[in-house]
């Protein structure tokens, strides 16, 4: 090994790891630290097949050779990867929801995740993921009559290994980037969704995440496959409790859309953002990518990101199929000391592909919000069209907003339009609203919601309402 990689290896495996995998197997929660033993133990704990263990190990070994990227416009103290717990599970194994730990149920109640089927939001199936283990999957039976598979990733590995094997890593290979590689080695659980040809999923599929135990990194892995002519709308909503230690969230989401399939993936994210001085908070380093593999396929990412101490994510679409469409609608809010470097990548490969990017960044407090987007038009992507609109709203004069748009156009008949605006919520606007009787809070809400309207219009109804409330809470006390 070269000196450089020796150094990297050393950095990643600082402490001598005391536990063999067999010892770990008996533990419900692993001690802090990461080694090949940890990876092996995770896989064995989940009773995974050999091929998946091998995949994890390949990823882990590859990760040891990688260096953490530093190009993002965010700053944070170095992460000690040995200071993280990589596996935590509630003690009992559950066959039905009746067996769930009452404390767990209480937590779900607090989060508003109704476990009993009759209480669930009309028509929304829920796959509740808590601290690395999926507790329940509801409406599984009802969806299965349509041939739709919606279950935890762990379950999919057991029940539908051929599908997982075929598509895992096909959009985000385990070598993709530092955090995706780490995820590939130690991913805990996530959602798996398969929509058979011609089927329109009748309900919005939803998943709740929560980081509970201290120092537990969430390494979620989600895989969504939409066969020819199918449709699914998927909701991801996150919450996390107040914590002092930073918690790493390095998830990977892969979406595959075949001919004329449409996948809509919506996220409302409000992970703990850290306190006013920037202490604590979640690090949200996520890799989300979809491939429009088929002709006339479509993938839409919509997101409202208000939480996390640091956000680093670029939900992207590979527009491989001819006439495929990729869309990205985003509102990213940063306040106090939060930092965000987010955006999207639209890669035009097929013919007559189209992409739309609408990004609304809102900065307040002392925060820093960067949009980073790539529109890449390949040589053979005749007739490609892109429209991008990146707006930044500054609330106050101590925050920052930055835009890094990259346009790489290698085809002469592509049409690429880019608009960007930067504006400030002025005292004038607030005063005007207040002079009409609106409280400062209501005034800010009104102005900010007006600003985000284009994006909110793309969210599924329930999320749009939650998003507006979330925005209001995130921006409390931000103008002064």
């Amino acid at each position: 090994m070269s000196d450089d990689s020796m150094q990297t290896l050393e950095v990643h495996t600082q402490t001598e790891y005391k536990y063999g995998w067999s010892t770990l197997l008996d533990m419900d929660t692993f001690p802090k630290g990461l080694s090949e033993e940890t990876v092996r133990a995770i896989s064995l704990k989940k009773e995974e097949p050999e091929w998946l263990l091998e995949w994890r190990l390949k990823a882990y070994r590859h990760w040891l050779t990688m260096k953490e990227p530093t190009w993002a416009n965010v700053h944070y103290p170095a992460i000690n990867y040995q200071d993280i717990i990589y596996f935590a599970a509630p003690k009992k194994k559950l066959n039905s929801i009746d067996e769930a730990d009452p404390e767990l149920i209480k937590m779900f109640d607090k989060l508003g995740v109704p476990l009993e089927e009759r209480k669930i939001l009309a028509g929304v199936a829920v796959d509740a993921v808590v601290d690395s283990v999926s507790v329940t999957t509801t409406f599984k039976k009802e969806l299965s009559t349509l041939g739709i598979i919606f279950c935890s990733f762990s379950e999919a590995v057991k029940e539908h290994p051929e599908l997982v094997k075929k598509y895992l890593g096909s959009v985000v290979p385990y070598t993709d980037n530092f955090f995706a590689t780490l995820n590939s080695a130690v991913f805990s659980d996530g959602s798996f969704c398969f929509i058979p040809p011609g089927v329109r999923c009748p309900m919005e599929l939803s998943t709740y995440f929560r980081i509970n135990a201290a120092n537990t990194g969430q390494f979620e892995r989600t895989l969504i496959i939409a066969e020819k002519g199918s449709y699914v709308s998927y909701l991801e909503g996150c919450t996390a409790p107040m914590r002092d230690e930073n918690q790493l969230h390095a998830a990977v989401v892969e979406i595959i859309a075949m001919d004329e399939a449409f996948v809509k993936y919506s996220t409302v994210q409000n992970w703990y953002p850290g306190d006013k001085e920037g202490k604590g908070g979640i690090y949200n380093f996520v890799t989300k990518r979809g491939i429009c593999a088929g002709y006339k396929s479509k993938i839409t990412w919509t997101q409202v990101e208000t939480g996390s101490a640091i956000t680093w994510k670029y939900p992207s679409v590979i527009l491989k199929g001819d006439e495929s469409v990729g869309e990205f609608y985003s509102v990213a809010v940063t306040n106090n000391r939060q930092q965000a470097d987010t955006g999207t990548k639209m890669l035009h490969i097929g013919k007559n592909t189209k992409s739309t990017i609408i990004s609304k960044g809102i900065s307040a407090g002392y925060s820093n919000n960067s949009y980073r987007g790539l529109v890449k038009i390949g040589k053979r992507a005749d007739g490609a069209q892109n429209f991008s609109q990146c707006d930044s709203l500054l609330m106050g004069d101590k925050c920052g907003a930055h835009t890094f748009p990259y346009l790489e156009v290698d085809n002469p008949n592509a049409r690429v339009e880019h608009e960007a605006t930067t504006s400030k919520i002025g005292e004038d606007q607030l005063f005007y609203c207040k002079q009409r009787g609106l409280s400062e809070e209501d005034a800010i809400n009104m102005i900010v919601n007006g600003y985000c309207k284009e994006v909110f219009n793309e969210l599924p109804m329930e999320f749009a309402v939650e998003a507006q409330k979330l925005l209001a809470i995130s921006l409390e006390g931000s103008v002064g």
């Binding site: 504006s423 002025g426 005292e427 004038d428 606007q429 005063f431 005007y432 609203c433 207040k434 002079q435 009409r436 009787g437 609106l438 409280s439 400062e440 209501d442 009104m446 102005i447 919601n449 007006g450 600003y451 985000c452 309207k453």
Partner: protein, 255 residues
């Protein structure tokens, strides 16, 4: 009869510069007071201080509104208690539809008064009826607040809001600036329709012509931050003929 607004010995500065220097003014319900004066005399400052703009620092003096200390009230509270400012330069708020804005402000006032909120249908009817008398196109409801409005449309939108919110004390801050004769007439008609014993107006203006349409009960002339002359509508005509020079030589008028 208790005055609606009582300003006593008011000293106001902005960014360290003294603007109002011992201003005294008494306004009773039902009265229309015109405030005139040369540039820099403090006319807009007065309007903004009553509305509650924080940049204007009150150095000393008091303002009593309906028996209450005005300075103890926040901007939105003053508004809900019936103070309305028709802005000289109405600000734009993109993304917030005019109708949505009007609806929210109407309802927040109604709730404050213990009235039930209007639903969308009732609201639209109410708004549309007022808009037609101001010769405003209903299309303006769909646009973002003041966004892309012409100067005249902005001013009429201010009067529309005044009509909808039914204030006790309405302050018009140079509402006539930038308006042509026809728009001026429409605005004046809108204001005149609102005149009532329960409502007072402070009309801040440079020019006499608005006052030919909105006939004031009292005309005050502001100079160097204090009122130096008070009269009836004929005072405005005198200013029109003689300009402001003569008042600069006059002593201030006591309260």
């Amino acid at each position: 009869m208790k005055p609606l607004l009582q300003i006593s010995d008011l000293y106001v500065s902005i960014a360290g510069n003294a603007i109002l220097n011992g201003l005294n003014l008494t306004i009773n319900s039902g009265e229309v007071h015109a405030i005139m004066g040369p540039n820099g005399s403090g006319k807009s400052t007065l309007a903004n201080v009553i509305a509650g703009r924080k940049e204007y620092v009150v150095e000393s003096g008091t303002i009593t509104y309906n028996g209450r200390d005005l300075f103890s009230m926040e901007v939105d509270e003053r508004a809900l208690e019936g103070i309305f400012l028709a802005f000289q330069y109405p600000i734009e708020i993109p993304g917030v539809s005019n109708s949505n804005f009007l609806k929210s402000t109407i309802n927040v006032h109604r709730v404050h008064q213990g009235l039930p909120e209007l639903n969308s249908l009732e609201m639209l009817k109410f708004i549309r009826s007022k808009m037609s008398s101001l010769e405003m196109d209903a299309e303006l409801l769909k646009r973002s607040l003041n966004d892309g409005f012409s100067g005249g449309e902005k001013k009429r939108n201010e009067i529309l809001q005044m009509t909808l919110l039914e204030p006790k004390l309405a302050i018009l801050d140079e509402t006539d600036s930038g308006l042509d004769i026809d728009a001026l007439r429409i605005v004046a008609d809108g204001v005149n329709h609102l005149r009532s014993p329960e409502r007072s107006f402070i009309v801040v203006t440079h020019y006499q012509r608005l006052l030919a349409h909105i006939v004031p009960d009292f005309v005050h002339v502001l100079s160097n931050g204090r009122i130096v002359a008070t009269g009836d509508k004929s005072l405005a005509l005198k200013l029109e003929e003689e300009g402001y020079d003569w008042i600069r030589e006059s002593p201030p008028v006591p309260a």
